[in-house]
């Protein structure tokens, strides 16, 4: 039962809703019930926020360590160096997110062309 078997008419959309949308949305739905007792300024909110921050940092680390697609063709060392360059730019440009993105992108593009 793969996606190709659900072709024709609205079937691809049904497959998208059943196997893409609902499995993802379920967590958002569940959060409404779990957030009931959580109030602004509460200790548990601090904890949940820290868990989310650590999770997102983990997402970034994951992309850097085991990237998918075209990014995998850039060596790990070069990916980490580009990240370091972007972060340095963040502080050099006085905590500028734009500065970090532009510098990091410049570095990764240079590396991608160098190693291709």
């Amino acid at each position: 039962m793969s996606f190709a078997d659900w072709s024709g008419g609205l079937w691809p959309y049904v497959a998208l809703v059943l196997f893409g949308f609902l499995p993802s949305e379920a967590w958002r739905f569940l959060s409404i019930f779990l957030a009931r007792g959580v109030d602004e300024g509460s200790e548990i909110l601090e904890w949940v926020r820290a868990v989310s921050t650590a999770l997102l940092a983990g997402v970034v680390a994951n992309i850097l360590i085991t990237p998918s697609g075209a990014l995998a063709s850039v060596p790990t060392g070069a990916r980490l160096a580009a990240m370091g360059f972007g972060l340095a730019a963040y502080f050099v440009f006085r905590r500028s997110v734009i500065g970090a993105v532009v510098a990091g992108e410049a570095a990764i593009l240079a590396a991608a062309w160098w190693f291709s």
């Binding site: 993802s24 967590w27 997102l56 990014l71 990091g104 992108e105």
Partner: protein
Amino acid sequence: MPLSVRGGNRPRVLRTFGRHRTRLALTSPAKPEDPTSSVRWFGAGFLHAARLPMFVMALTFLGVGSLAREAGVSLGVALCGTLLIWAGPAQVIFLGAIITGTPLPAIALSVSLSSVRLLPMCVSLLPYLRAPGRSPLLSLYGVHHVAVTSWAESVRNIPAIPPAGRFSWFMGLTHGLYLSAGAATLAGYMLAGALPRQMAAGLLFVTPIYFIAALLRNVREPIDWMALGFGLALTPLLKPYIGAGLDLMAVGLIGGTAAWAGQRVVKARRARRP
């Protein structure tokens, strides 16, 4: 009224908004249910999105759009995927699995595992998004918009916004993101295959560099530093032992709890100091 937060280091979002509403603030305090105030907060959120997040979204979703083309799904499915799933990593998993011909139930499982992270993210924003008397359907619509970018942009800004404006501001922010992600999915779908591989690598790098910079910008207290550092450091350590998408959840729980405990230690020390 944003009067209470007017000060040197209030978030940039409020400074922008202040320009638009200074006159209003001097004449009449906006009532919480004032519709013009909602529209203005929606606009302020939209403008916040237009500053950088919309461009980041656009670059990321160019990649998603071209992946959709590669997966052989129709443009309609690609666009609905962006609007319905509204989580970049889940979409990449969904489309990637279609390319490899993975069975649909297995796709659903990996999509769901990658989206567990939405749970703590939604819980940490919901206290700011709900209001007495707001219908559960509207709450569900609001919470649907929580994704990594909208979370990173609002988790530190939203507490500084007056409660009456928070939902509207968040809606403005996320609908701006929707607009750019949808347009970029379309563009990526059209451009698929025309992009050199190096450019594709660059597009995939936008997400990590932007997230890290945005998380750094959100740092206010030791707990934020620690959560960020533990998350980065724990991932390569735990990855060999915990696989199948559960590693991220472990990183979040262990790293987040350690950061929270660390913050308590720091607070206790500060309190003891004379």
